[in-house]
């Protein structure tokens, strides 16, 4: 899954996913559970809607002075003894990490869950350079064993059933383990404990970075984030520049809605605040702290059509409610970020051309917009994206011709009436028992599971003459 995107067509991957029994079972159980938990969390929290509005406003205000907040963040991190690195794109971000590993003699790095490092294909780059990355979030650990990529922003192994997980961990630890989440978690925990102690570097993302205090904030449920940031001698946090927020009071606001949206929790189990390396007199923490501030297509959208996607908190709520995601899972999308917001983020990171097919992977039902904690209008932006594909001539020529023709017909009542009449005539040649039995080629696949409606003998406009 490199910058060029996956091979093959999205439609084929989606169809394959529909036939994967394990995937269907795992997705249906997990997304239904997430939807219910989120709903309950907000039902018990009447302030929720108001806080969502405020969170959106903070994101918008931050974007308007993003340069200021980023500089403030960098100054404060440096004042605390940390090092700040700026990465224009994925390649620069990888190079910063690799150089640090080389310079500091790093052979093993433990990681807590981070989409930013997925975005830059960090694990492959580290392995290639002889550094062993070890994922310590349970879900990430599972998919690392499976040699896969996360299929959900917050639940990377959501596509796996517990039986599949038992097989993977059993194979890794070379002993049979029951398909019982508690047994499997305990086994992984014991295995990972030594890794934390052996690792030279801890690599994390950042859920937030607070500009006026220089604090990097990690939200986790397993405590692994705390180990990754305190046990190895070096901690590197990689974050997109959209993750900066102005102040600690803003952090309180976002923490109030993030976990509720993601997992339905009031707060996640661990909220880890990191301020630079270990200072004299402190008992724990790394000797060195590095913060990588990554652009990778983001700043170009501050004044671009995808601006609102920069509000995203990466909670994953829009994935759970998306009827398309719930049926095909994350891998079919073929990029780092799946689901409705993933389509927008992919366009942001890799350009419009990379979402020529994906831009249409939505029925525009609006469920994503409804649950988004910062109310990103994803359907509207998908429509804008589609519009951009037409303007940039990235949409298939046949499709553009078809819609141009449709536009011509629909703005002329005479042509429209003619088309309706032709449709009726064409249908008459294939009617059986009063219903069309043969579909035009473009609708063949539609009719594999559905009967076509019948073109009525008389349109409403024709019947109106008698109703008048």
């Amino acid at each position: 899954m490199s910058d060029s995107g996956p091979a093959g067509r999205f439609a084929d991957r989606a169809t394959a996913a529909l036939g994967d029994r394990h995937l269907q079972q795992a997705l249906s159980i997990a997304t239904t559970k997430f939807i219910g938990l989120r709903r309950e969390a907000f039902a018990e929290f009447p302030l929720g809607d108001q806080l969502r509005d405020r969170a959106r406003a903070v994101k918008e205000a931050t974007l308007q002075r993003l340069d200021h907040y980023l500089e403030q963040l960098a100054d404060n991190v440096e004042r605390l003894g940390g090092h700040v690195h700026w990465a224009r794109d994925a390649a620069e971000a990888r190079e910063i990490l690799l150089r640090l590993c080389r310079d500091k003699g790093v052979r093993m790095a433990v990681k807590s869950k981070s989409m930013a490092t997925e975005e830059i294909d960090l694990n492959e780059a580290l392995e290639h350079a002889g550094v062993r990355p070890v994922e310590t979030d349970l879900g990430e650990y599972i998919i690392q064993l499976a040699h896969e990529r996360p299929s959900h922003i917050i639940a990377p192994a959501i596509h796996k059933t517990k039986e599949q997980v038992a097989d993977l961990i059993s194979a890794e630890l070379r002993r049979p383990l029951a398909a019982d989440p508690e047994v499997l978690t305990a086994a992984a925990r014991a295995e990972l404990r030594q890794k934390f102690l052996d690792a030279d570097m801890g690599i994390t993302g950042a859920n937030f970075a607070v500009a006026d205090t220089g604090t990097v904030v990690l939200v986790t449920n397993e405590g692994n984030g705390r180990m990754v940031t305190s046990l190895p001698r070096i901690h590197v946090a990689v974050m997109g520049i959209d993750k900066v927020i102005p102040s600690m009071s803003d952090l309180v606001l976002f923490l109030n809605i993030l976990a509720k949206s993601a997992t339905g929790q009031k707060l996640s189990v661990y909220t880890t605040l990191v301020r630079g390396p270990r200072h004299p007199g402190e008992l724990e923490g790394p000797e060195e702290f590095h913060l990588v501030l990554m652009d990778n297509g983001r700043s170009a959208q501050i004044a671009g059509p995808l601006r609102e996607a920069l509000y995203c908190l990466r909670c994953g709520a829009c994935l759970n409610v998306c009827p398309v995601y719930r049926k095909i899972g994350g891998h079919a999308y073929g990029h780092t970020y799946p689901g409705p917001i993933g389509i927008l983020l992919t366009a942001m990171l890799k350009g419009d051309r990379s979402v020529r097919e994906l831009a249409h992977a939505s029925s525009l039902c609006g469920a994503c917009h409804e649950v988004c904690p910062v109310r990103i209008d994803i359907p509207r932006m998908l429509v804008e994206l589609r519009s951009g594909l037409d303007r940039q001539r990235l949409a298939p020529a046949g499709e553009r011709l078809l819609f141009r023709a449709a536009g011509r017909v629909l703005r002329s009542p005479a042509l429209y009436r003619l088309a309706a009449r032709l449709g009726r005539l064409a249908q008459h040649t294939v009617l059986r028992d009063g219903w069309p039995r043969l579909a035009p080629p473009i609708l063949r696949r539609w009719t594999r599971t559905r009967e076509l409606p019948r073109v009525a003998d008389r349109t409403f406009a024709e019947r109106w003459k008698e109703l008048r």
Binding site: P323, V324, K327, L410, W435, R450, V455, F460
Partner: protein, 236 residues
């Protein structure tokens, strides 16, 4: 306003709506020359074409006191998108703004404008209601259709688990990704059949086309009907 799918595929819904409105004392007119609201063009990103259709549609309804649309998605486009769409494409927006202000989806018109509190159902029985996405989330309307079905004598409204989840139609989505669309539809129809209802009611031609196509293929005893048909008869 009767838009393309309603005109060509489901004229009986329009007929039922006219009967219903007349029964309630409304003078109904149908300006000639209507085609489509432009939604398929708009949603696929063909905004120049959509605006051309929208501009002439808006002009057709210049003299109407109220504009009633038996399709939530078309009503959404008119109310929420027409003015900005036309402005972006360099058209005058006065007609579109007037249209947006006077347009109601059928159930909204019946409840908010006419204040219908009780009525007789033409097709009695056990029904369940599916929320069309654009009506529910686009126009924020889930209450009026349910209120009407609850008040209609002879109708027993049973709740549909996951009523607010998409049926998988999504216009060209169902043609571009027909297998995904079908898989979404299957979940919807399973839920519909489990309610034990005789029919599933919706307020959008797109959802009706999708659900009735799937129900007929399943040879289900459940029918998909428009709200207007339940309230005023099949319209055939």
């Amino acid at each position: 306003m009767i838009t393309c799918l309603g005109d060509v595929l489901f004229p009986e819904v329009g007929v039922a709506m006219v009967r219903l409105l007349r029964r309630l004392g409304v003078t109904v007119d149908f300006p000639e020359g209507q085609t489509c609201c432009g939604l398929p063009l708009f949603n696929s990103g063909y905004h120049r074409e959509a605006a051309a259709v929208a501009a002439r549609t808006a002009a057709l309804f210049r003299d109407a006191e109220h504009v009633v649309v038996p399709s939530g998605s078309c009503a959404w486009l008119l109310v929420k998108e027409y003015p900005a769409l036309l402005a972006h494409q360099g058209y005058p927006t006065a007609d579109a703004e007037r249209l947006a202000a006077r347009t109601r989806e059928l159930s909204q018109f019946l409840v908010d404008v006419l204040g219908v509190t009780e009525l007789e159902a033409a097709i009695p029985g056990r029904v369940t209601y599916h929320d069309s996405c654009h009506l529910l989330r686009g126009l924020g309307e889930g209450r009026s259709p349910r209120a009407l079905l609850t008040r209609a004598r002879g109708v027993e409204l049973v709740p549909l688990p996951g009523a607010d989840e998409c049926c998988g139609f999504g216009g060209s989505f169902s043609v571009r990704l027909p297998e995904v669309s079908s898989a979404i539809l299957d979940a919807k129809l399973d839920s519909v059949e489990r309610t034990g209802a005789d029919c599933v009611v919706a307020c959008d031609a797109g959802c009706l086309m999708q659900m009735s196509g799937g129900l007929r293929r399943r040879r289900s005893r459940v029918r998909a009907l428009h709200l207007a048909q339940v309230l005023a008869g099949e319209g055939s």
